[in-house]
Symmetry: C2
């Protein structure tokens, strides 16, 4: 049997997953699909932007309805009545329990169905913001679990795991697709132009500054 | 902080999960909740029967909509155009890829939200019917993965893992709740009275015969 030469990118339309898409297309030219998730996030704009980036890259784009996730727990990303904040010693209020577990599991099932052997995700331990499901030990364990669940040998590839935001920007520059960032979405407030002052915007802008690269995204405040 | 003394049972209304419920109520008297899943299974009767058994046992019952699962893959349990069959060397046509992975993950998130420390599931390696996600090594890996995903210390308890169907029946007799089996659902054809001739009914009847116990469930053919 010939080796499969297709890859699936778990795609949020954020800066990290857009960078992953560029990496995947370099590794698997013309053989990349994307999947995004509607998990009841506050800002549907994320999915709109994901669709735009996929169109720019010329790759298939599909949205899976995982809105059940927003019914399982209370958090600031799916409930606009909860304030976005981080308290010392607690999980951030933006933590959606199980989110990456569900995303990777769904990606793995889609990959199994399509005989895709590599799934990319943009999770990153370096800037993990207190989310346990962005750490490398979680990803390794999850890879083993999905393979045991289905008798498969999928690889979960995380090209950004050990990069700083600045290094991610530098990687994207090297991959030649910095322009895709203008449609990527980061702002927790859901604004376009981006607010520039929420924790997510601040982290993003810091990365560009450190990389010495200008962010092609439009901001209200810079 | 006081130890939590609550348990959650992943509940399908099948014979195994009904036995698990009896075990959980013995281990955690008066402190058990159940959760069932609508994953687009052919027979909604399963959820009706699960609700009836939960009522008999006097425990809270909740259904989570996971119908996205039926959109991810093609299998005989969620698509009535696919024949129920098993071919040598292949996964059974009734295998729903990722099913137990999703069930356990959702149960883990609910448990995390409610400070429940033990989740019961009736998976069983002895009669695993070729489903990789019923094996002990999958459960152990999944337990580790959900805990890494959320920084928790949940226990996934599988009291039936190494039992034969006959031993499960004997266990239920010892737990004193054989009568609950009359509302439990097993038949792949979705019949009540049960068809008695599908692979699931045959496996169930064999277990009762070996245990020397009469199945309180009504059958069309015995």
């Amino acid at each position: 049997m010939a080796m499969s030469s297709k890859a699936l990118v778990l795609f949020s339309g954020g800066q990290d997953s857009v960078t992953c898409l560029a990496q995947a297309l370099t590794d698997f030219p013309g053989a990349v699909e994307t999947v995004a998730f509607d998990y009841g996030q506050r800002h549907f704009i994320e999915l709109d932007q994901a669709r735009k980036v996929a169109a720019l890259a010329g790759v298939p784009f599909r949205v899976i309805d995982l809105t059940f996730i927003s019914q399982l727990s209370q958090n600031a990303l799916t409930d606009s009545s909860i304030k976005i904040e981080t308290k010392e010693g607690e999980l951030p209020s933006t933590f959606v329990p199980g989110r990456n577990l569900f995303f990777i599991s769904v990606g793995a099932v889609i990959a199994q169905q399509k005989n895709i052997k590599v799934v990319y995700t943009g999770v990153c331990q370096t800037d993990f913001s207190g989310y346990p499901d962005c750490r490398d030990n979680f990803i390794k364990s999850c890879e083993q679990t999905v393979n045991l669940a289905m008798d498969t040998a999928l690889e979960i590839r995380t090209p950004l795991m050990w990069l700083t935001k600045a290094q991610t920007v530098t990687k994207m520059e090297a991959l030649g697709h910095l322009d895709w960032y203008q449609e990527s979405h980061t702002c927790y407030e859901g604004h376009r132009p981006a607010c520039g002052v929420c924790p997510a915007c601040i982290l993003r802008l810091k990365g560009f500054a450190e990389a010495g690269v200008s962010d092609p995204l439009a901001y209200q405040v810079v």
